[in-house]
Amino acid sequence: MGENLLTAVYFCGISNEHAEIIDIAEVAAYTKTISLVGEIWHQKDFPVIDPDEVAAKIRGDGIKRIVITGYQPGMFKSFFTKAMVQAGNDPGDVFLACFGEFGAYKRADTERAKAILACAIYGVSFEEAASPEEVDTSLDTLVIGGGIAGIQASLEIANGNQKVYLVERTGTIGGHMAMFDKTFPTLDCAACILTPKMVEVGQHPNIDLMTYCEVKDVTGEPGNYKVKILQKARRVDLATCIGCGTCSEKCPRKAVSEFDADTTLRKAIYIPFPQAVPNKYLIDADNCTYVENGKCGVCAKVCPVPDCINLDEQDELVEVTVGNIIVATGFKVFDAKRIERYGYGKYPNVVTSLEFERLVNAAGPTSGDITFRTQDKKKNWIFAPEGNKPKSIALIHCIGSRDENYHKYCSKVCCMYSLKLAHLVKEKLPDAEVYEYYIDMRSFGKGYQEFYERIKNEGVNIIRGRTAKIDQDGDKLLLRSEDIVGDRLIEQSVDMAILAVGLEPREDTTEIGEMLGISIDSDGWFNEVNYVSDPVDTFTGGITVAGVCQGPKDIPDTVAQASAAASRVLQSILKGKIRKSIKELSLESIEKRAKELSIIMEGQL
C-alpha cells in the first residue's frame, strides 16, 4: 500500500522574499500533514546536489519516493534519479510537481500549488485527480472576438445547430485577416478565403452577430454564465440602413481609418471596408461634430431612409445566458515607435508591415500600388494613389520580438509574412531591389521552407544580420547592418523600409482575464491548461481560448485551434453537461481523490 512509500519533498530555487510568488513555507507546512512525507528538503540546504550524499540520506531515512517541486523542478530531476539508483530504489519514483504546469504562478495560487504537490506525493497525475464534477449546461455559446478565430469557432458551433453569440468590438467582423492581401505560403487572396466565411456568419440563423459591442461583465458559473454586453450606440439602424453611402459622402469630418492601419482617412460616419459584415454604416462618436456640440447632423438630413440615422442613440446593455465562452480576442502589433533608432514615426518612408499590407492590398488605399507616403492638404501623412514608387525596399525582421528589451518571444509569423511581402513587392515592382534582413529564418510548417526557397529564387536579397539603425539621408534611408554570412558591414541605401513588427497582447488582456477568471502568462497571453496536451481549455470551466490571444500563431494554426475550441464546446453541448472549474475544487477533495487513485493504482500492480 501507498503508506509504505516514505517520501522526501525537495523544494527548489525559491525563497519567500517575493510577496508575489507562492508561499513556500505554507506549502511545506501543509506537506508535513501528509502521512507519506518523511523528509522535507529545501534547495538552500543543498548548495550542491551530490548524488552520493543524497543516496546516503535516502538509504539512511528509508526514503522510497522523491518529489521535486517548485517553479522549475525538472532541472533537478537527473540528480535525484541518479541518487535513487545509487540508493537501490526505483528511479521511476522521482516525481515532479511543477507549479506552473498546472497554473499556479502567484501567491493567490498557493492552494493550487499544494494540490499539485499532493498529487505528486501520491504519485498520480494532477489532471486525473483534479477532475471536477459535471453539471447541466446552457446550450448557447458566447464567442468574444470576430477575427478569423472567432468566425471559425462560431461557424463550427452554429453549423452544429447550436446558438452562438458572436461579440465584436468594432463595426465589422474580419479582424486582422481582413486587412491582409495574401496568405502565406499558398499566396491565396486573404479576402477570398475570409469574406465568404464572414458572409456566412452574417447570414447564419444560429449566429447572433453583435458588432460594435463589448463584453462588460461575466458572472455565474460554468454552464450558466450571465454575460452583460454593451451595445455601443451605432447611431445607424442596422435593419433599415441600405448601405448607399450618401451619409458618408456628405459627412464633413475626417478621422484616421483603423482598417487601413491608420494610413488613410475616413469619414466620421463610415463603413469599415467595402466587404464589411454587417455591410452597414456606423458613426464614430469620438470624431462626430454632432456628438461633440450638436451642430451638424448632415448625415441624418441626407439619408434617404427615414429614421435610419438616430444621432441621439444611447449605448445599451444586453444580457445573455450562455454555457460556454470562447475567447478569441486576438492581438495588436508592436508599436514600432518604441524603438527610436528605426525612425518609425519620424521618417515617412519607414512603414510597419501592417501598413504595408494595406498599401499592397488591391482593395487598399492605393489599389495595390506601392507608393511613398504623401501629405494631404492638412499635412497628414497618408497613402494615396498619386505617390511615387520606390525603387528599393528593405524588410527588417524581429521588430519588438526576440528582444530582451521588448518581447523575448518569437512572434512566429514575421519571417513568413516578410517573405510574402518581399514576393508581393517583386510582383508589383519587378525592377525594385528587395533586401531582407533577418536573424534566423523561421520557415517551419507545411510548404513554408519551400516558400522560402521560392522567394530566394525570385531575386530577393536575403541577408543574415539584424539592421541596427535607420537614418534618413536626403530622400533615402540609410540602413546599417552586419552581413554575418558575407562577413562585411552593409550600409544600404533604400527608398523604403518595412519593419516586420511582432505581435503583442492587447492592452485590455488583463481586464478580460480578470473578468473571465482566466490567468495570463508572463508574456501577457492567456494561459491554456497545458500547451501540449490541452491547448484550448482554461482552468475555468466552460471557457476556452482560440487564436493569437493564447500565443502568437499564424492563420492555419488559428483556424485549427478555433475548430478545436469549438469541438470542446460541442462536446459539452452534446452531453448537456459541463465540467466545473478545476480552480474551484477544494484542496481536500483533490487530495482525497489522489489518495483513492493511488490505492487503485497500487492494486493494479
Binding site: 533608432r341 524581429c398 526576440r402 528582444d403 530582451e404 528589451n405 536573424i439 534566423d440 543574415r464 544580420g465 539584424r466 539592421t467 541596427a468 539603425k469 546599417r480 547592418s481 552586419e482 552581413d483 554575418i484 562577413d487 562585411r488 558591414l489
Partner: protein
C-alpha cells in the same frame, strides 16, 4: 588560417571579468550599431564568436577589442542582454595578459591576493628605504626623484616595449598582414595623434564631454609626469613650473574624482560594471594627483619637514602605480590602444592593397 579550437578559452576569460558568453545569438546588431566599425574591422560580434568557438589565436591576433572605446550602445540595444561592451572589456584585460611576457599582468588580473601582496611588498620597500635614509626630507626627495626616472626607464625598456613588440608579432606578423612600408611611416603620425587625443572616441555615441574629460586626464597625467620627473616640481623654485604643477595636478585629481563618482553612480553604460582593476586604476590615478598636490602645498608652506609621512604616502602611491599598475594593470590600455590603432592602420592598408576593402 587553420587553428585549433580551445574549449578552455571561455573558462579562462571568466577570470578576467567575463560573466556570460553564451547569450549571444549572433544577430549582428552590436557590430552594426557601433559607430567605430568599418569594413574589415567588425566587432564586437566577431570577437564574441572567436570567444565562443575558443579561437585563441584569432582573439590574440585581433586589434579589434582595442578599437572599442566602450560607449555601451551595443549593450543597450543588444536583444539578448549579452552585454557585448563588457565582453570587449574582458577581452582587453585578457589581451593585456597575452601581450605581457612576464606573466604578472595575468596573475594580478586573476588573483586579488597576488595583487594585494604586491601592493604590500611595495609599501614595505618604500618604508624600508625611508628607514635607510633616516627619514630625512632632502635625501628622501632626492631618492624619490631618481626612483621615478629609473622606474620609467625600466618599465618602458624592459616590460612595455617588449610587450608592444609581442603585440606586433601576434597581430601583424602572425596574422600575415602585408602592409606597404609607406603605411608604417604614415601610420606613425596616426599613432602620435591618437596617443594624445584619442580622437577616434569622438565618433562614439557617448558624445564629446566624455572624450574631453578623458583627454584632459591624459594631458593632465602626461604633464604631471613631465613636471614632476623632468622639471623636478618638488625641488624647483621656478614659480611658473610650480603653478603649472598645481594646475595639472589639480586637473588629474578633479577629473579622476569625477570618474570615481561616475563608477559609483552607475548611471551610464560605461560606468555600470567595474572590475577591481578599473577601481584600482581610477583610485590610484586620483591619489597620484591628490598626494602630489598636497606635497607641493606642504613644501610651499614649509610644513613638509614635520609632515614627511605625507611625502612617504605619495612615494608609496607612486611606487605602487609605477611598479604594479603601469606595467601590469589598466594603465596599459593607453599604450595598447594607441598601438592597436597603428596596427589596425597597417591592416587596413594591407586590405586596401589586396583590394579587399
Amino acid at each position: 588560417m587553420n587553428q585549433l579550437v580551445n574549449p578552455e578559452l571561455k573558462q579562462e576569460l571568466l577570470k578576467y571579468g567575463l560573466k556570460e558568453w553564451n547569450d549571444c545569438f549572433h544577430c549582428g546588431n552590436c557590430t552594426a550599431i557601433c559607430s567605430l566599425t568599418e569594413q574589415g574591422f567588425l566587432f564586437p560580434r566577431k570577437g564574441i564568436r572567436a570567444l565562443q568557438l575558443g579561437l585563441k589565436q584569432s582573439l590574440a591576433g585581433s586589434t579589434d577589442p582595442w578599437l572599442c572605446y566602450y560607449c555601451g550602445e551595443c549593450t543597450e540595444t543588444c536583444p539578448r542582454d549579452a552585454n557585448p561592451a563588457e565582453l570587449m572589456m574582458s577581452i582587453r584585460r585578457y589581451l593585456t595578459k597575452v601581450y605581457d611576457w612576464t606573466g604578472l599582468a595575468g596573475l594580478f588580473y586573476r588573483s586579488k591576493l597576488a595583487l594585494f601582496i604586491g601592493f604590500i611588498l611595495v609599501l614595505i620597500a618604500v618604508i624600508a628605504v625611508g628607514y635607510v635614509k633616516h627619514f630625512e626630507t632632502e635625501a628622501l626627495m632626492k631618492f624619490g626623484h631618481l626612483f621615478e626616472q629609473l622606474v620609467i626607464l625600466a618599465v618602458f625598456g624592459l616590460i612595455l616595449l617588449p610587450n608592444i613588440f609581442h603585440m606586433f608579432w601576434l597581430t601583424i606578423v602572425k596574422q600575415k598582414v602585408k602592409a606597404p612600408i609607406s603605411a608604417y611611416i604614415t601610420g606613425i603620425w596616426h599613432l602620435i595623434w591618437n596617443v594624445f587625443t584619442q580622437n577616434r572616441s569622438l565618433k562614439c555615441e557617448t558624445g564629446s564631454f566624455r572624450w574631453f574629460e578623458h583627454f584632459l586626464i591624459v594631458i593632465g597625467y602626461i604633464s604631471l609626469l613631465f613636471v614632476t620627473v623632468f622639471l623636478n616640481w618638488f625641488s624647483t623654485t621656478n614659480t611658473i613650473i610650480i603653478w603649472l604643477g598645481y594646475i595639472v595636478g589639480g586637473i588629474v585629481f578633479v577629473f579622476t574624482f569625477h570618474f570615481i563618482i561616475g563608477r559609483l553612480n552607475k548611471k551610464r553604460e560605461v560606468t555600470k560594471y567595474s572590475h577591481p582593476s578599473d577601481w584600482l586604476f581610477v583610485i590610484w590615478l586620483f591619489l597620484l594627483g591628490f598626494t602630489a598636490f598636497i606635497v607641493r602645498v606642504l613644501i610651499d608652506t614649509n610644513l613638509i619637514d614635520n609632515n614627511l609621512w605625507l611625502y612617504i604616502i605619495h612615494l608609496i602611491v607612486i611606487a605602487q602605480w609605477g611598479i604594479l599598475l603601469v606595467p601590469f594593470g589598466k594603465w596599459t590600455h593607453f599604450l595598447y590602444r594607441s598601438f592597436a590603432i597603428y596596427f589596425a592602420y597597417l591592416k587596413k592598408s594591407a586590405l586596401k592593397r589586396q583590394g579587399a576593402i
